[in-house]
Every structure is written in structure tokens, then in C-alpha cells.
Symmetry: C2
Subunit: 436 residues, 2 copies
């Protein structure tokens, strides 16, 4: 049998529910791995060892609780947890214990999940990075804002971890760390109890090492339990490559990953996998997303700006000031543009294509821990509220992972997972196929 | 000069910013009124007298802070406040002090608003009523779930108070208490820091005694400061009466209010004010809203169901159990229906009508404090995310107020306020005209 800590969430759940392994042993294996690696990776802000062990023992003794029975889970530290400190990535909230779990965390516990600890977020899930290193090379960023969750999954510390995305905070770190990141349709998972950046775009999701794992995670977090079982494709999907208006930013590693993804896609698609050029109204979508997000963050963090201005980093202070200078008139115009683009993309997914394949990031993880990389290739898809999944495709010239993201129409989360699995199976690299 | 506590928010702000009155005196007048009436009305769960007085003195000494400079405000007790206990209408959270203000509350404080206290909510803004009485007749309900806020405004305890609506929790109590209730477009005000019932429909808003007052409140809560100034109508609006598929539920008082509203509307409308019959796909919208809300509440309160099942009322326990029995498949179908209806209503507001006039409630406030009345006439509009405002129209056979609601297209909040004011000016009853 392989080491317990290297089991995927789906493998672990199969073994746990058949009582072939104990939740306690899986948890201890994860804690061992964390003990060996945390000094280097620094993925965690807190661990609840005792309460997790107590819970694991209860679950080993009792009946099967649900989809996540006995699974150790990392929770991004912008999700409220009643039993673990929740700092939102800010020194303002050191040792803050919320009274209530975030709704999605309570749902994971109800499904038998064991919340093992909290993972590093950038400051308020914005741009100032935390201490986490990329497990593949500690001098590189793991991406952000869900830095700790992506790194913990890549480093086999836990099989499942939560994330959130307002610009590119799930897809980008997933690509940089070589793991699966799944941002389901906007609104699928409740945002209640998660520190709010943008009321228009904050989207909850999760990380895992296989496509089945993230389906399982989002199934529990949302209540859509059928997502835990990925359906076979009955018809060949219409697939296309979408380089977006920001393609000039893509580095050669991203171009290479997209070429490999096209190759795999052609093996399963209906017809040829052509490039799909979005209509011209989409040309400035990244700018629209940036303005809406910046304006909304500035209002969302009003409490902290009034009471703790000196505990906000200079970077974020600058961003908040940028946000405050955006007129409400501009913001309202951008919201109207966003709703027009949502209508347009709905028509495109209804009539022309089932899944688009697009860059996840500019290239490999940059050699810095001062910032978490550029979310440019995620901004538009997040604004549109579409389900997106990063799959790992190849290794770049620096020896770091490079992924691509697949995108489906709103509400087509099931289809997206099915297509992602089919494409992963068709990838040339046998390691990449393990994701399926 | 009239008594300070009877000034509308807009009158008070004008006098405060011109330094004709002091914030301290206005606050003391409100506290006096509360002292006289609270034993009967029971609108409040807590008052922060000392901190409010301290803040009022600061504001009297300093420069004008913003839109709400020196205005005492009541906050529905499902909004988090860092300095006042926040119980969400549940005994689970007695003496709970959140670490952070709800975003909209921080914005009100930033604008110079003084949070005077928390107002009674039904249990988790659901259906089990609190102790509040209707100020017009203490044996009748004030409506819910924003019971305390509506009653406090009607009883001249404060000039402005926040509310929230998932089914009919702003419009219905506004109608029962004879005040203005404004539920702006879905998403206009951030829901962050407000206890979540339904991720799809929870909508923040406020109560006041004039249309200008609720514009002012939502301006501060949202950041759309232009809502504080109601624009003149430059063109005659297209108006229609919309009785909805639930019209059989309307009592004669509601029919009478609608007739009076039609009379006033005809004085300002472009052409005749006819009945508008929504297309047949809208026939079951109240049922769709009920299923989505019930399913989502059941997930949103998972934490409380796991940890404090005995502190949930039998009524709510039953509702949560109903919600848990709705399949995700049904829920997903209902969400698709909702998005289809949103598209359809957008076309209707683009092409056929500017503002619809519809019942706010079945009739007068029922003679009970065991429940808060039926939200049937609000369910559909809330699901559609449209801005709605209740204006007081007449007095029913029981001597209690009866309002109607006006409804505009998404994002047309400014237009809605302008039309509401024009209609209020055209009402036959001089008291009703005071609302304008």
C-alpha cells in the first residue's frame, strides 16, 4: 500500500468508508508529513492537532458520516472556523476566534470532514504575500491568494484544501503548484462566513490532487452531492482553445502547455479543436474586472481602514486608495458591462462550444516570494462567474509545473469535471494522467 | 421647531450639517422617546447609549463627516456590530460580540452615522417572531423579519434603521407599520457581515419615514452617494399595476390601496395606468422562491444544527427539515427557472414599463404576535432581485396602515425613488404626501 499521506482524497475516502484504513492513521500520516516539511513550505497558520485527533477517533468508532468521512482538510485562513484562529492573512486579527464556522466549513464537517488546520492566505486574500514557498522550489512563489492550500496539496500534507478566487486565487496557485484547483460556478458555494473582498466576484472552491478530489470537495461544500461522482461523457464535447485578449502576456511555457492540451483535447473532441476568438466586447474584460474588484475591496475593508489603518500593509493601503478614487458612476457602468458580457458568454456556451481551454497563468511560478504572480488570465472568467478548473499539463524550463484551465458555461460544473477527466486521460505525460 | 425625534432623516441631516441642531440633542430626544415607548413597542435588543453619546459629542465638535453626520441609526440584529451584542434573533448568540462590523454598518459609521442600538429580528430573520408590537396597535404584529427596525421608525424612536429581505422582510413590515421600506437591487449593498439565510436572495436595505430618508440610507450603505439626492423626473414614466398570480390572497384593504395608488399614478404617468399581467412563466414564481429559500436556509444554518439543535425553535426546526428534503436536482432546476425569469423581467422593464405598482402585503397587520404575516406578495420580486419600495397609502378597516410597493428594473434604483416621490406627492391623503 502507498503511504497514507500520498493517497488522493477519493482513494482515501474509498478506503476509509470500507474501513480498510483508519481516519486516525491517515491524520497521523498527514501530521508526520507536515512535521517534516512545514519549516520549508510554511503552508499553515495554525493546526488543530488535538481536536482533529479527537474527531478522527470518533469517526473511526462511529458510522460513516458522509462524503468526507475521516478526511483531513486544510482551510484557507479567510474562512471562519469556530475552533481555530482566523486571521484573514492580517495582523489585525491575530488570535481572532469567530463564533461560527463559514457555511461551507460547517457543511464539510457535517459530511465527516476533519478540519486539520488553517492555511496561509495573502493579506485579506489580496496581493501582499505570506511566508509560503512553492514546494517544487522554495525560492519561488506558490501563487496566491490561496497560497497555503495549494502548497499543502502539492506537498502531500493533506488531500483536500479550500480556496477562494476573486481574480485568480485558485487557478493560478494550482497551476504554479501543479495541482487541481476548482472554482465552481459563482454562487454554487455560499460565501457566508468568508472574509469578503468583492460582493460581485468572491467565489469559493478547493484544491486536490485529482479531478475526482475537487469534485468531492465542492460536492460537500455546496450540497450538490452528485459532483462527487464524475459522469462519463456520452457525447463528444465541442472544445476550443481561447487565448483571450491578454495572450501577449503568455510566456512560452504557457504556450507549450496549451499546445499539449490541444493535442489531448483533439483525442476526445467533436471535430477539430480550433482557436476561439471571443467577440470584441470581451477585449477589456480584465480591466473591467480590475476596476470592479478594486472599488469593492475599498468598501469591503472600511472597518479595518477606520480602526486599524496602521496594520494594513503599504501595498494594500495603495490598492484601497486606488479603489476609493474609482467613481461610483464608473463602477456602475462596469457592472452593466459585466452583465452584458455574461449574457453574451451564455449564448456562446449555449450555441458554439461546451468547454474552452485557456491559460491558467503567464508561465511558471516567478522566482520571488514578494508577490504571488499575475492573475491576468483568470480575471475575466471570474467576473463572468463561470466554472473553471486547472489541470497540470507539463513542466517548464525552470522545472516547475504549468497548467491550463478549462472553462464551461454557468451551472455546467458536472460537464466541466467530466471533460477535464477525459482530457487528463488523453495527456501524453503519464504523471499528468494520475490527475484523472 | 418640531420635536427633534420627529424630524425625518433628511430634515435632521440638513439641520445637523448646518449646525442648527446638535447630534447630542437629537440623540437625547431619540433616547427619551425610546424611554417612553420601549416597554410597549419592544423594538430593541440592545442600546449603546454611552458610546452613541460619546460619538455624538465628537461629531458635534468635529467637521462634517459625511452623508449621515450625527444621525442616530437602528441596526437590525442580524447585522454584525463590533461594539453591540449581535444575537441574530436566536438564544444561541446571546451576548455574542462579533469582531468586525458588517460592511454596510462600517460604511454608515464612516459617513458619520451613529449606531444607537440593535433592533429585534425574528429568529435568524426567518419566521419565528420576536417580542415587538406594532406601534399603531400593540396587539398586532409589526411584520417581520425586520420587526424592530420598522416599528422603531414608525414610533419615532430613530429616523433611520437597517433591514434585510429574503422573502418579504422589508416591504411587509414597512406596509404594516406605515413607513417607507426600500430594498434596493440585489447586490447593491454588500451582505458581508450579515447572518446569511439565502446566498441567492438575501438583500440589504433600510427603513425611514420619507422617500428621501431611505435614499440617504442606501446611499451610505452602498457607496452610491447619488441616491441621497432624488432626481426630478424629466419624462413621464410608463406605469402599470401588477396584481401577480397571487392576487386571490389580497384582502379588500390591499385592493383599496392599489386603487388609490393607481389614481395617484395616473396623475404622473405617461398614458393610462393599466393592469399588467405577467407572462405565464411567472405564475409559480412564489413557489420557486419558497423552495430556493427553504433549501438554502437549511444549508446556511448547518453550524447551528450541528452544535445547538435544542436552541432552534420548533418552527424553524420544521422549516430546516423541509429544506433538507428538497433535492439538489429540484433546487438546481429552480435556479435555472429563476435565471430565465430574470431575463424575461429585464426585457419587460426594458420594453414595456418603467415601474410596476403591486401589493406589499395581503392586508393590514394581523392581530397576532405569534407570526409576522404572509410575505407572499414579495417573494417573486425578491427572487428577481429588483429594487422595491413600500409607500404608505391608506388606513384599513382596523385602523392600521396599508401600503403598496413600487418595483423597477434591476439597477434602476434612482428611477424608482424618483417615481415613488412623484406618486407620493400625487396621493389624495395629505399625511401620505409627507412621505415624499
Amino acid at each position: 500500500m502507498q503511504d497514507l499521506e500520498s493517497l488522493s482524497a477519493s482513494q482515501a475516502i474509498r478506503a476509509l468508508t470500507r474501513r480498510e484504513i483508519k481516519a486516525t492513521d491517515l491524520l497521523l500520516a498527514c501530521l508526520d508529513r507536515i512535521g517534516q516539511r512545514e519549516n520549508t513550505v510554511r503552508a499553515w497558520t495554525s493546526l488543530g492537532k488535538e481536536s482533529a485527533l479527537r474527531r478522527a477517533k470518533e469517526l473511526d468508532r462511529g458510522s460513516v458520516k458522509g462524503l468526507l468521512h475521516g478526511l483531513p482538510i486544510g482551510v484557507k485562513d479567510i474562512y471562519d472556523t469556530y475552533d481555530l484562529p482566523t486571521s484573514y492573512g492580517s495582523s489585525i486579527y491575530t488570535n481572532h476566534y469567530p463564533a461560527i464556522d463559514a457555511v461551507s466549513i460547517a457543511l464539510m464537517r457535517q459530511a465527516g470532514g476533519i478540519i486539520l488546520g488553517k492555511t496561509v492566505s495573502t493579506e485579506f486574500a489580496s496581493f501582499k504575500s505570506g511566508p509560503t514557498a512553492n514546494p517544487h522550489n522554495q525560492h519561488h512563489t506558490p501563487g496566491g491568494s490561496s497560497s497555503g492550500s495549494a502548497a499543502a496539496i502539492a506537498d502531500f500534507m493533506v488531500p483536500l484544501a479550500t480556496g477562494s478566487q476573486t481574480a485568480g486565487s485558485i487557478i493560478r496557485p494550482a497551476s504554479f503548484c501543479g495541482v487541481i484547483g476548482f472554482k465552481p460556478s459563482l454562487g454554487k458555494i455560499s460565501t457566508a462566513g468568508v472574509k469578503s473582498l468583492s460582493q460581485t466576484m468572491d467565489t469559493m472552491g478547493c484544491f486536490g490532487r485529482t479531478i475526482g478530489d475537487v469534485g468531492l470537495g465542492v460536492a460537500a461544500m455546496s450540497g450538490d452531492h452528485e459532483l462527487a461522482t464524475i459522469r462519463e461523457l456520452h457525447n463528444k464535447p465541442r472544445l476550443a482553445i481561447c487565448k483571450t485578449a491578454d495572450w501577449r502576456m503568455a510566456q512560452k511555457e504557457t504556450a507549450g502547455a496549451l499546445a499539449l492540451a490541444r493535442f489531448a483535447a483533439e483525442a476526445i473532441a467533436k471535430g477539430k479543436v480550433d482557436d476561439y476568438k471571443l467577440p470584441t466586447p470581451f477585449n477589456d474584460i480584465s480591466q473591467i474586472q480590475t476596476r470592479i474588484m478594486t472599488a469593492e475591496i475599498s468598501r469591503s475593508l472600511t472597518f479595518e481602514q477606520i480602526r486599524f489603518p496602521k496594520k494594513i500593509s503599504p501595498q494594500l493601503t495603495q490598492q484601497l486608495s486606488n479603489g476609493a478614487s474609482i467613481s461610483y458612476e464608473q463602477y456602475a457602468k462596469d457592472l452593466i458591462r459585466a452583465s452584458e458580457l455574461k449574457l453574451l458568454i451564455t449564448q456562446i456556451f449555449n450555441n458554439e462550444v461546451d468547454v474552452l481551454i485557456a491559460p491558467s497563468a503567464i508561465g511558471e511560478a516567478p522566482a520571488t516570494k514578494e508577490n504571488t504572480g499575475d492573475p491576468i488570465f483568470c480575471r475575466g472568467w471570474t467576473l463572468l462567474g463561470l466554472p473553471c478548473i486547472n489541470i497540470n499539463i507539463t513542466t517548464g524550463t525552470l522545472g516547475l509545473p504549468v497548467g491550463v484551465q478549462l472553462i464551461a458555461g454557468t451551472g455546467k460544473d458536472h460537464l466541466l469535471l467530466s471533460v477535464a477527466r477525459a482530457i487528463a486521460y488523453a495527456l501524453p505525460d503519464p504523471v499528468a494522467r494520475d490527475q484523472a
